[in-house]
């Protein structure tokens, strides 16, 4: 119960902030995760998230070499994620190329570039918090960005629910009905990219895809509607983050991995329960 006492302590603003960020990021994880799982683009989301390191490294290097004060790594991360999303969306899908080769190449090149840039940047820089996340380091700026992201996602999904449903369910039919399938696909990837960047704070580059897929995949085992799958995924994501944050605080463990283990455990339990019932 230490965690709940600590939450109530007026000095622990950072903990309440972490909890708020965690709960709010569940909305983005649940909704975008539902599309990532049903549209089967989790490998693609993985490539985007690893390319983020390239952007972070590039931004740090530019900032140090050219003394650009305002250049926060998050801008580099956003740019790299959007470029990666465009590349894998344009070439990693139905183009007759070997898609997984394309995706794998983007994944590795993005990450390698990031590490080289960080090597070239003068001074010591610890990338652990980017790789594995540290929700206790979030700022009130992060909170505002995540609220904005949630609002954009909710607006997009409610205004284009039927179109997105059709594009994910049967792309060919949607195209025949005159929908701009490529545009929706690219928009979805761009939103996935922004989600990945903002949520790297919570679980890190390496594990962010797990948070996009595990809650949604567990939800898909029981949901009969896309909207129901989203709500259940948001709920599962929220309890994974709250439990993970609590346990990691009490046991003094890294928060990202503990959150992922909770999400993985919920997935296995729900999959197992479904098997037993059948």
């Amino acid at each position: 119960m230490d965690f709940f006492h600590a939450l109530a302590d007026p000095d622990n603003t950072f903990l309440r902030l972490a909890l708020a960020v965690g709960l709010l990021s569940s909305i983005a994880f649940g909704i975008i995760g539902t599309y990532v799982v049903t549209r089967r683009i989790s490998y693609l989301a993985g490539a985007v998230s690893h390319c983020v390191l390239g952007g972070i490294g590039g931004a740090l290097w530019l900032k140090a070499i050219f003394n650009i004060e305002w250049l926060d790594p998050v801008y580099g991360a956003l740019l790299a994620a959007l470029i990666a999303a465009f590349i894998v969306g344009r070439f990693g899908h139905n183009t007759g190329q070997r898609e997984e080769t394309m995706i794998g190449a983007t994944w590795a090149i993005g990450m390698a570039l990031g590490i080289i840039f960080i090597d070239l940047t003068p001074g010591y820089f610890d990338i652990t918090s980017y790789l594995f996340g540290d929700i206790l380091l979030v700022s009130s700026q992060d909170l505002k960005l995540i609220i904005a992201l949630d609002l954009i996602i909710i607006l997009f999904v409610t205004s284009c629910y039927h179109q997105l449903l059709a594009v994910c369910f049967d792309e060919e039919f949607a195209r025949l009905r005159g929908l701009n399938v490529e545009l929706f696909y690219q928009l979805l990837l761009a939103l996935t990219a922004v989600t990945v960047v903002l949520l790297i704070r919570v679980v890190g580059i390496v594990m962010v895809v797990a948070m996009l897929t595990l809650p949604a995949a567990a939800a898909s085992l029981y949901a009969n509607r896309l909207s129901g799958m989203m709500l259940l995924a948001i709920f599962l994501s929220a309890i994974s983050i709250v439990s993970g944050l609590g346990l990691s605080y009490n046991a003094n463990l890294s928060s990202g991995p503990v959150i992922i283990l909770f999400a993985g455990a919920f997935y296995l339990l729900m999959a197992g329960w479904k098997k037993i019932k059948q």
Binding site: A166, D170, A223, N224, L226
Partner: protein, 260 residues
């Protein structure tokens, strides 16, 4: 004679995949009111022909006119039913929402927003047409293969088409569903033109008015001309013909209805 212009007109069409010819010098006209079946061996070009008609593939040479327009424009009047096997069977979606997809693109904006006002009535009428009115709230993934196929026919009908294009509607369905499907198609044919891809020649020759044979070349035959020699020409090669009339009436078999 004052014949109406054909709803599908293909002239001198060639199509190849990676320089491998699939269709050669195809000429085809489909008149309004036709109930035709596209048959031919696997790899003969049946699905390619459908995709060319739908404008999903571009011919190397030749012209395709659908309702006197390019396939990209004309396809708005086509209700297309793909094979359901390529869809994700775990996708969480209700039967009604699948059928409603037929109304997509009918909104003024197209990009945003919900369905037009009468979409729900159109979708329910389409479900009623295929006998699945009671299933509108069910999940697509809980249905049997035959029911899914009918939902996809309802979705095609929900586009309010003048031409219905069905890719293998008889694949993976039991004989009773096949019988239902046949009755549905005959009823629908009174108000729209229908083309379907089928493997089952027996099924086909009972219902359809003409057979479109696709094996690199495309030849159209009235069904009364179907016989063993013709089938040999289409499928090219030796095989046994099994006579399997679906029904016998009191006068016995008057038509020889072979199947492959």
């Amino acid at each position: 004679m004052n014949r109406k212009p054909p709803i599908i007109k293909i002239t001198n069409l060639d199509f190849s995949y990676h320089e491998h010819p699939v269709l050669e010098t195809v000429n085809l006209e489909i008149q309004e009111g036709e109930l035709g079946s596209i048959i031919g061996p696997n790899g003969g070009g049946k699905t390619t022909l459908l995709k060319l008609i739908l404008g999903l593939l571009q011919p190397d040479r030749g012209r395709i006119e659908i309702f006197g327009e390019s396939p990209e424009k004309g396809r708005q009047k086509i209700g297309y039913m793909p094979q359901h096997a390529h869809l994700d069977h775990l996708f969480p979606v209700s039967v009604l929402n699948v059928v409603l997809m037929g109304q997509l693109g009918k909104q003024s904006g197209g990009l945003f927003g919900g369905y037009p006002r009468h979409a729900l009535e159109t979708a329910r009428a389409a479900l009623n047409e295929v006998g699945l009115s009671d299933c509108e709230k069910d999940s697509f993934h809980q249905l049997s293969g035959g029911q899914r196929q009918r939902v996809l026919i309802a979705r095609a009908l929900c586009t309010e088409p003048q031409l219905l294009l069905l890719d293998e509607p008889t694949a993976n369905i039991d004989p009773r569903s096949e019988e239902n499907l046949y009755e549905t198609l005959v009823r629908l044919n009174r108000r729209m033109t229908i083309l379907l891809v089928s493997h089952d020649l027996g099924f086909v020759s009972q219902v359809v008015k003409s057979v479109i044979c696709v094996n690199r070349q495309v030849i159209i035959h009235p069904t009364s001309n179907i016989n063993g020699t013709l089938i040999k020409e289409i499928y090219g090669g030796d095989f046994n013909l099994v006579r399997h009339d679906h029904r016998c009436d009191k006068d016995g078999h008057h038509l020889h209805k072979p199947a492959v």
